[in-house]
């Protein structure tokens, strides 16, 4: 009987198209908006992907990676003195202005690395040598900076080119690829000392102390020891990631804004699919009653309706997630808006579409369960 159910569904083209469209729209809206939301959240933690470190030591009041409350220079040695710390290095992170050839300026994210160890160095160097950062005024820029800072030039920035950061000369010695920053400012890597020369002077300049645990200890164990012995706040990479994510959840309207759109997608899916499927069942009441009269049990009819609902659900989901992936692919190629689709997102979307279909089917099943086969004899 299942092919009969499918033939009944596919034969009613307008309803079938309406059902698939509603579910496609719901799947697209939910997965695409979630993708942009997750992408935006991933941008908030881009520091951690561009400057890898097992332990991040910060001021005790710091809650997330994008807020910097400078430490004293001596805090590096205090961290180094903690038993279980394999090594610790200073790191600078701050926003500055870079002047472009046409006189305009762009905000850039300066990262100052320890010149001796280069801890936190970019992971994907496309051109140039990291060691050259030790040369005076040297910087390594990311591909985003190549695009944004080349405005007004006859050719894209390349190794050997010079531009200004806070009115000081910066010479490009390499190009790397990294994650986009939360602020949209491109990443520029240099040494810690050089970064302090670019930056406006302050009493305290040290943004982070990045550290690694000694062999045999976990990052969490060492982080707790650092906190206990220095009074500073120490996060493991994972702790800092989730602390940052939750900070944005609690302190910004981003989750509410995206949540509303995602909820809207869910409600539209429920309303359109539920209503259309119910009306499909209503229009087929006589046929369903005839099947019931011929001996089809409520269970068989319920399974037929479930199959119909899940079929349109699967097709709608496939189209929706496919369109969301296509849009994501376009976004990622363009560089914005942010987009990130972890494997859990298609699974969760499938789960929600499945629930919508079950809801729509239940409306029909309830109707069919109450249906008297005798109505088939009425005119």
């Amino acid at each position: 009987m299942y092919h009969v159910a499918l033939r009944m569904l596919l034969g009613d083209r307008p309803k079938y198209i309406m059902l698939v469209s509603g579910l496609t729209f719901a799947a697209l809206l939910m997965s695409q908006q979630c993708g942009v939301f997750f992408g935006l959240l991933s941008w908030t933690t881009s520091h951690m992907r561009n400057m890898r470190a097992s332990i991040w030591v910060v001021d005790p009041k710091v809650e997330q990676i994008n807020e910097v409350k400078p430490l004293r220079d001596t805090d590096v040695n205090r961290v180094r003195s903690v038993v279980g710390v394999a090594y610790a290095a200073p790191m600078y992170a701050g926003l500055m202005q870079a002047r472009m050839a046409d006189g305009g300026f762009k905000q850039v994210q300066i990262v100052g690395l320890d010149a001796a160890t280069m801890v936190g160095r970019p992971g994907n160097i496309l051109a140039g040598r990291l060691e050259d950062l030790r040369l005076p005024s040297s910087v390594m820029i990311d591909t985003d900076a190549v695009v944004k800072l080349s405005i007004g030039r006859s050719h894209p920035l390349k190794i050997g080119d010079v531009f200004e950061i806070n009115d000081r000369e910066a010479r490009i010695i390499g190009i790397c690829k990294g994650a986009k920053s939360w602020t949209g400012a491109p990443y520029i890597f240099t040494t810690y000392e050089q970064a302090l020369r670019f930056a406006p002077p302050q009493r305290k300049m040290l943004s982070f102390v990045v550290a690694e645990p000694a062999q045999g200890l976990t990052a969490a164990q060492v982080a707790r020891k650092i906190e206990k012995e220095t009074g500073l706040k120490a996060f493991t990479e994972e702790e800092f990631f989730w602390s940052t994510i939750w900070w944005y959840f609690k302190n910004t309207g981003i989750p509410t804004s995206f949540g509303t759109t995602i909820l809207l997608g869910l409600l539209v899916g429920i309303a359109v699919s539920g209503q259309t499927f119910y009306s499909f069942v209503l229009e087929n009441t006589r046929h369903l009653a005839a099947l019931k009269a011929m001996g089809a049990s409520n269970g068989l009819l319920a399974r037929m309706l479930l199959l119909q609902a899940l079929t349109v659900g699967l097709i709608g989901y496939g189209l929706g997630i496919g369109l969301a992936s296509l849009l994501g692919f376009i976004f990622l190629n363009k560089g914005q808006p942010p987009f990130f689709m972890p494997y859990q997102l298609p699974l969760a979307t499938f789960g929600l579409i499945f629930l919508i279909c079950i809801f729509a089917a239940l409306l029909g099943i309830r109707r069919v369960a109450k249906l008297e086969a005798a109505i088939v004899f009425r005119g």
């Binding site: 009969v4 033939r7 009944m8 001996g295 089809a296 049990s297 004899f377």
Partner: protein, 252 residues
Amino acid sequence: MDNPNLNLTPQLAVDVRNVTKTFGIGETKTVALKSVNFEARQGELLMVVGPSGCGKTTLLSVVAGTLNFEEGEIDVFGSSLHRLKPAQITEFRKRNIGFIFQQFNLIPTLNAVENVSVPLLIGGMARRAAEEKAAAIMKKVGLGEKIKARPYDLSGGQQQRVAIARALVHEPRLIICDEPTSALDSETGHCIMELLYEVARSPQCCVIIVTHDNRVFQYADRMTEMEDGRVRRVHENPARKNGSAASLLVPV
């Protein structure tokens, strides 16, 4: 068109005893069947006639097990419907009853042979086997060339033949027909009735037809006349009893 069975002591196919059926409650309560007694025999074509609202369709529905009733007893081929649970009644219908509806009730998105195979599929037969059996019975009703046609490509008479094939394909013992000829022209109606009459010749079967259509009364072995929820009279068709096919009953 002989019916030798009628000359023997006929066994009861349907035995309805003191059945009462009401619709609504309170002031809107309507008694559709008032302590109805009714019989249909094996090997006969029985017509139920009467004015609109007299309870014909309600009687047909309770006999078919598609409608509950408050009082009385109904035996169909020895099974007491009043003692069966709803799931058992559904199972009974699936195995023993074939339906022919006034508006044919063919599923428009299925072709003719697929429509005919539906009762077999409900009974759990595999699709290929069901369609082979359905195609064979379609040839018997003269639609061997139309097995792939959709209902909307068929005339009214052809659609009703498909419906008859669907009602017969799982070899039920009781065929329930609700106004099978009222949507058809006279000639087509007679063709359909010839088919149903042939079915009723099987000694194990019984065909019950509810109809207003006096053009086809001549095919009845017996006619049960209803009025105000009661059976008023039962007419024997003497011509049928004698095995004649051309006799015409005077409408009741």
